[in-house]
């Protein structure tokens, strides 16, 4: 991961906060997305070849990733390039604001790049066309093979400047890639960029693997594996590929997640028909029992300050969501609505809990406040579960399965995302069927 680290030569060159600049409100569903023109980055003619990368098209390719990112937010409307009124290199120096306004653009992104001595130098600017001002600018240098990440970092910076919120484009999703018939599914751990590119498979599919989750620095993953037919929680170092069983439990461990400081794993341990929640400190290897109840206690998720754990339990009869202090004290049920509740996941902002709700044979993904009030169901379907938050707490990714026919035909599992406004539901591109997504934090933070 370190080698991916990007060297920022100089950060924001110049921000102009002088007067009312364009702003995008992301707290509501946006039915009027901001028209934005993303000019292809100008490729410096002094650019040299770099193995396997099409230098001439690099400017176009970067800008089209930026456009796709923007389009996927539902907040921006990237305009067609045929209508563009200036050449990329000239627009980057000084846009003719009045001409760009004619094509109804409100914001313009320009930039240039140079590949030289095995390095990719990129510079971009964001222009407010109505105010005829530069809003932000950034230049950085990285290795040319990182060009897709360059596009994502540019997207993040622009999103940040226009919405006032951190972006989520320079991120990855770890998930379970699925293939084969429904009753003989092959499952592999897989990792991809947030936009579906660069998929890599981390296991071979020889054993069943489930529920991978990133640690806060995105270098480690905890997941469940049936390796040697022993269902246990594992810890995997993505960089080195080394893995180990977490703890020495005489039975099934499952439903793992990291604590927000990455030092502990919280999980369930099932023994003699009873599942309780445990933590293990990864440095000291000390195991602590957090719940002690004859019911099923599982799907634990820490609050971002590490002080609380949300989980689901059937201690009242059917699955409901509970919150307790991270030492297990002060258990409080927070869901009382009609239906069954599971998979609570604390938002990275700390203010909301995402969940799965089952009611009358239908499955919902929703969010509620951490005391259980203000429940909002975002999406309803035949089967869907396992929400995971984008690092800025604005989008949820989850998986959805279709109804199968009498021989299991027509079955599929796909990743979907939806804004917490309830708008902008979309399917993520994956090479195979997919489930159990977990969103990383920003890679270049």
């Amino acid at each position: 991961m370190k080698k991916l680290l990007i060297l920022f030569f100089f950060k924001i060159l110049f921000i102009n906060n002088a007067f009312a600049l364009i702003e995008v409100d992301i707290t509501r569903g946006n039915l009027d997305p901001l028209p934005i023109a993303v000019s292809p980055l100008h490729v410096d003619i002094k650019s040299e070849a770099f193995d396997g990368i099409k230098i001439k098209e690099l400017g176009e390719n970067i800008s089209s990733i930026v456009e796709k990112n923007f389009k996927a937010t539902g907040l921006f409307n990237p305009l067609k390039k045929e209508a563009f009124v200036q050449k990329p290199d000239i627009a980057h120096l000084k846009p003719r604001f009045e001409d760009w306004r004619l094509i109804k653009a409100q914001a313009l992104v320009t930039g240039k790049l140079l590949v030289k001595d095995g390095k990719l130098k990129v510079e971009f600017r964001l222009w407010d066309l109505a105010a005829a001002k530069e809003m932000t600018a950034l230049a950085f240098t990285t290795t040319p093979s990182n060009w897709r990440r360059v596009a994502h970092i540019i997207s993040d910076k622009i999103y940040e400047r226009l919405t006032g919120e951190e972006g989520y484009f320079d991120t990855r999703i770890i998930f379970v890639a699925e293939s084969g018939p429904k009753n003989q599914r092959i499952k592999k751990l897989a990792i991809m960029d947030q936009d579906g590119a660069n998929t890599k498979y981390l296991t071979l599919g020889n054993e069943l693997v489930l529920t991978p989750r990133f640690n806060p620095t995105n270098q480690m993953v905890t997941y469940m594996s049936y390796f040697r037919n022993m269902p246990r929680v594992y810890l995997l170092d993505i960089e080195t590929g080394t893995q180990e069983v977490v703890g020495n439990f005489p039975g099934m461990t499952f439903a793992p997640r990291f604590s927000p400081d990455g030092k502990k794993i919280v999980m369930s341990f099932a023994k003699d028909g009873n599942s309780d929640i445990y933590t293990m400190d990864l440095d000291t290897r000390v195991v602590e029992r957090i719940t002690n109840h004859s019911s099923i206690d599982t799907s634990p998720s820490f609050s971002p300050d590490g002080k609380y754990i949300a989980f689901n339990s059937d201690r009242s009869g059917l699955q409901q969501i509970y919150v307790m202090r991270s030492d297990g004290s002060g258990v409080k049920r927070i869901t009382f609505g009609n239906g069954i509740y599971g998979t609570p996941v604390w938002s990275p902002r700390g203010d909301l809990i995402a969940f799965t709700k089952m009611r009358k044979g239908r499955f919902f993904i929703g969010v509620m406040r951490i005391d259980g009030t203000g429940e909002r169901l975002l999406t309803e379907n035949y089967y869907q579960e396992a929400p995971s938050w984008s690092p800025n707490g604005r989008v949820l990714v989850f998986y959805r399965e279709t109804k199968a026919g009498t021989k299991g035909e027509g079955f599929s599992a796909k990743l979907w995302s939806i804004d917490i406004t309830g708008y902008n539901e979309r399917r993520l591109n994956t090479e195979t069927d997919a489930s159990d997504p977990s969103w990383s934090s920003l890679l270049s933070k």
């Binding site: 069943l208 499952f254 439903a255 089952m358 579960e385």
Partner: protein, 158 residues
């Protein structure tokens, strides 16, 4: 008064019919009783007359009369074959969250194990594994398939 009494009788009649009809619809349809599978379609046998699996109601791990009968046969068989060890696999249907279903499968397998132990089978001879909803025996998305998938299966290991 008379009117009231009549009304009461009518209401009683209405209620009884409602309850009766509710019972008759919920009771049996094909091979499902309540929502527990009672058929033989997916059942295999450890030995002649010894079914390998028992079925459960939605979200439940309690043993039905039929399940207890099956497990008694398994216990008798295990008593006769003292060197035989088994694994009990616990399973859930697809209509629940993955992690909860893992726990539910474990609870079902242990319900079967505990019952075998009450017939004198040593717990050392029985291991337990949950597959949650990961290994459906019937891949269809129907109530029949779900009832066949809510099961614990006793498998010989030696």
């Amino acid at each position: 008064m008379i009117f009231n009494k009549n009304l009461k009788n009518i209401l009683l009649v209405v209620f009884t019919t409602l309850i009766l009809s509710a019972c008759s619809t919920a009771k049996k349809s094909g091979n499902i009783d309540g929502d527990v599978y009672t058929g033989k379609e997916t059942v295999k046998f450890l030995a002649s007359g010894v079914p390998d699996r028992v079925f459960f109601a939605t979200n439940k791990s309690s043993l039905t009369t039929a399940a207890r009968e099956t497990l008694r046969k398994q216990a008798t068989y295990l008593r006769k074959n003292k060197s035989l060890n088994v694994t009990i696999e616990g399973h859930a249907d697809e209509r629940g969250t993955r992690e909860y279903n893992l726990a539910l499968g474990e609870r079902r397998a242990n319900a079967a194990k505990d019952y075998l132990m009450t017939y004198g089978i040593s717990g050392k001879r029985i291991s337990v594994i949950s597959y949650g909803k990961e290994k459906p025996v019937n891949p269809a998305s129907t109530s029949l398939a779900w009832s066949q998938n809510r099961r614990s299966v006793t498998v010989k290991v030696n």
